[in-house]
């Protein structure tokens, strides 16, 4: 059997990133409950939904309408950064990783963007850290740059390479350009289509290789 390396993106591929961010914000609001009324929280999530989780100025925008937030912005952000929440893997992810990694010629990896240390912590909390043979999480040479894919490509020359991600531009295109066969994970089954080896069920995904 040919050796295979399955590399996954992390956020929105193995875990629900939106849940991770929103749960941390909700905990933050609980800890600063004297400041955050129901209306302010609703306004916050309106901004969040509009601008997305990586927008840096949610609180700044909120404070334009709710001046009482302005003075405490720094403390609120510090609270948010310190919050850890129990994350949830997408259905059957644990089983898929476990089954794939138990095949002698198969290895599992992660290529992701962001903070390496934060990712390691999250993987350990999810009890999946030990499945991985390689992890590349680069906060500087981020996908869609080729560097992370190249690092894997150079070091796993005798492997058939697969990349599983949720974003065509950030994941699939650069992975393809660097010698990986690609699969697109979509959490919403109604968005499944015949392009990009699209799937939403990790059990079926892993079964095709077993």
């Amino acid at each position: 059997m040919k050796k295979k390396l399955f590399c996954f993106d992390f956020d929105d591929t193995l875990v629900d990133e939106d849940y991770w961010f929103k749960a941390r914000w909700n905990k933050t609001f609980e800890l600063h409950q004297s400041l955050f009324t129901t209306i302010i929280i609703k306004d916050f999530f309106d901004i969040y939904d509009l601008k997305g989780p990586y927008y840096k100025f949610h609180l700044q925008d909120l404070s334009l309408h709710h001046k009482e937030i302005k003075l405490s912005k720094k403390q609120i952000i510090n609270t948010f950064k310190s919050i850890e929440v129990k994350e949830i893997l997408f259905p059957e992810v644990f089983n898929a990783l476990s089954r794939l990694s138990s095949v002698p010629n198969y290895k599992i990896g992660i290529i992701s963007n962001g903070s390496y240390n934060v990712l390691i912590k999250r993987l350990k909390h999810l009890n999946i850290y030990n499945f991985f043979d390689t992890i590349i999480c680069d906060g500087y040479m981020k996908k869609p740059n080729n560097e992370s894919f190249q690092t894997i490509f150079k070091n796993y020359k005798d492997y058939e390479l697969f990349y599983i991600g949720n974003d065509i531009r950030l994941d699939l295109i650069p992975a393809n350009e660097n010698g990986f066969k690609t699969f697109l994970y979509v959490k919403d089954k109604t968005r499944l289509n015949s392009k990009y080896n699209c799937f939403s069920d990790y059990l079926s995904f892993s079964n095709q290789f077993l």
Binding site: Y116, D138, E147
Partner: protein
């Protein structure tokens, strides 16, 4: 010819050490160090004298004539005794992105003495960063085996941050990659 410009324009001295471009006279020392320390290098075989000679002629010498060489190697000497202490530099230089991998190898006699090794390594990194700034490199990265704990400790204290690991090619332990912040 970048090497010549570097040689002419850079400050190569501090109060204890001299840094200069690698020279032919260094290669036998370097061959011995590499063979003695091959377990920490990406080197599987013992390098013969002929192989080292060939490497010098084919891989090093031609880079001295290029404006954008793929590697820049430097030797580090004791300023007073002229003893060759270490060598290293930048390899896999990507001139478009201004990225390069940094490397460092000290004389084997300094490996066991952590204090001396640290002094050599930090001074070497100071010199390399000076070169990197002059060449406007935006990213310097390095990779090393994770069993080299003291080496990693120095890298991390200097400002390199780990961004990944690869187990597959491990010799006796995990393989770590280390990555440094950009210079601005």
């Amino acid at each position: 010819m970048l090497s010549k410009r570097i040689h002419n324009n850079f400050l190569f001295y501090n109060d204890k050490f001299r840094f200069r471009l690698i020279e032919y006279k260094d290669i036998e020392c370097i061959r011995n160090w590499r063979n003695e320390q091959k377990s920490v290098l990406r080197q599987n075989q013992i390098i013969s004298e002929q192989e080292q000679e060939d490497y010098w002629n084919k891989e090093i010498l031609p880079t001295f004539d290029l404006d954008e060489p793929n590697k820049l190697l430097f030797s580090m000497e004791n300023l007073n005794t002229n003893e060759l202490l270490a060598y290293g530099g930048f390899v896999d230089i990507d001139w478009n992105k201004k990225h390069a991998e940094s490397s460092f190898l000290a004389n084997t006699i300094y490996i066991e003495n952590h204090k001396e090794y640290k002094i050599l390594f930090i001074n070497y990194l100071d010199f390399l960063m000076l070169v990197a700034r002059k060449l406007k490199f935006s990213l310097i990265y390095s990779e090393t085996y994770s069993f080299r704990k003291k080496h990693i400790e120095i890298l991390e204290k200097y400002g390199y941050a780990q961004y990944g690991f690869i187990k597959k090619i491990a010799k006796s332990d995990n393989f770590s990659k280390l990555h440094q912040y950009s210079f601005k």
